[in-house]
């Protein structure tokens, strides 16, 4: 009887106000919410998002269409066709990544001997048609060489002379 009453007192008079106070403290803390579609947060420096194809500082494409990225790709998402330019250098005439297959593992970036393909910070890749997920060279190749703020460090910035 007394034990029962003591249990009631312990769980009501003592425990319940402690719980109420604990919750009330959170009212005065700053919410952790990020207003995502309006305010986008900075991604981690090594985040693996949408791929991009780098250029040399003089504007030439780095990719030589060696096919190592396609070979490394565990999802078999990369397709390319080689061609030669007027200086006799190989380049990729067609370079496609299937973003439905891609698992963003970053193996292509690691395999690339020319420091040509990187995974950037873009992650909003939704589209309303399956064909739109085939990213071609126009989508992937950066327009100008990124000198000021590249996501990833490039060690050899000048084209090889042959």
């Amino acid at each position: 009887m007394w034990r029962y009453l003591w249990d009631i007192i312990k769980t009501t008079v003592v425990a319940l106000p402690i719980g109420l106070y604990t919750v009330l403290r959170y009212l005065f803390k700053k919410p952790v919410t990020r207003k995502y579609p309006y305010v986008k947060s900075e991604m981690a420096p090594r985040y693996r998002g949408l791929h991009y194809l780098e250029r040399y500082d003089d504007g030439a494409e780095r990719c030589v269409c060696c096919g190592l990225c396609a070979a490394a790709c565990p999802a078999d998402a990369i397709y390319m066709e080689p061609a030669e330019n007027e200086r006799g250098e190989r380049y990729a005439a067609v370079y496609e990544i299937n973003m439905i297959r891609c698992i963003f593992c970053g193996f292509c970036e690691e395999a690339c001997p020319e420091e040509a393909i990187f995974l950037g910070h873009e992650f909003e890749l939704a589209a309303d048609h399956r064909d739109k997920f085939i990213y071609t060279k126009e989508d992937l190749l950066v327009k100008h060489p990124r000198k000021d703020k590249p996501y990833k460090t490039i060690y050899r910035r000048v084209r090889r002379q042959n």
Binding site: L20, Y26, L27, P31, T33
Partner: protein, 330 residues
Amino acid sequence: MADLTYIILIILKVIVVFLAVLTGCAYATWLERKLLGHLQNRMGPTYVGPFGLFQPIADGIKLIFKEDVVPTQAEKVFLTVAPMIAFIPGFLTFAVIPIGHPINLFGHEIPLTVSDLNIGILFILATTSLGVYGVALAGWSSGSKYSLLGGVRSSAQMISYEVAYGLSLVPILMIAGTLSLNEMVAQQSTILHWFVFRNPVAFVIYWICAVAETNRAPFDLPEAESELVAGYHTEYSSLRFSMFMIGEYANMLSVSAVAATVFCGGWNGPFWPGPLWLIAKVIVFMMIYIWIRATFPRLRYDQLMDLGWKVLFPLALANVIVTGIILYLV
């Protein structure tokens, strides 16, 4: 002619109170979502209007345009009637709650209450217990096991808490010596005369029973999401569902208003006009509702019954007896 103005006055008061309570219900949902969000380190509604203030309007419009689904297994008549029964009692309570000092308009003294009933407390007790019929009928008529379980749970819960709910108000009636809410408010003219401080135990019992009566967390067993999908309104959609929601929030508002009137001085207060004080007190009580919801986990069913019958009911009875003895001696 005098009769006609009287009737028009009554109708006007009814419309004003009804619309005020309806708006109150809408903004109670906003307050709940906002405050609950901030209590959980979230933000609640933010995008629709400033501070998400137009969110209830958007929700209402959305609910109106939803498809009204009637299950094939359902009892159509009761399925239609149940939301109405659940909708009405919460609003009925406001008929007897005094909202302010009588005002003088064109030489007439107009009391700011829809009806100055001399048995106001009894009326409130009667109407608040009517709500269970809507819930039980909805649970039974939906033809779904979750709804049925929700309805049965709700009726059992309401019956067990009704007893302590009524008994918790008895000491206040003994102290006040009246059943009329207007006289009660008149007796609590300053904060020192509030009945909370005269009999805090009655207030605590009243508030716990009020939370249980309105099926709110931690006593929300009739609509426990994790067990019963949505309880008694599982099979409802569109306007009928919104009637249940409005009814629930109207019940919460009415219970808060009764708590403010009976225990916390009603519309009495310095500086501000009466209605503002009542609204402020109701908002405080709604915040306590939400605070409790954010804190406590749902009770198990046997714990609920234990609390109702073994703790609150004896405590309320003892409170009546002790209050009686003290009143006799003093």
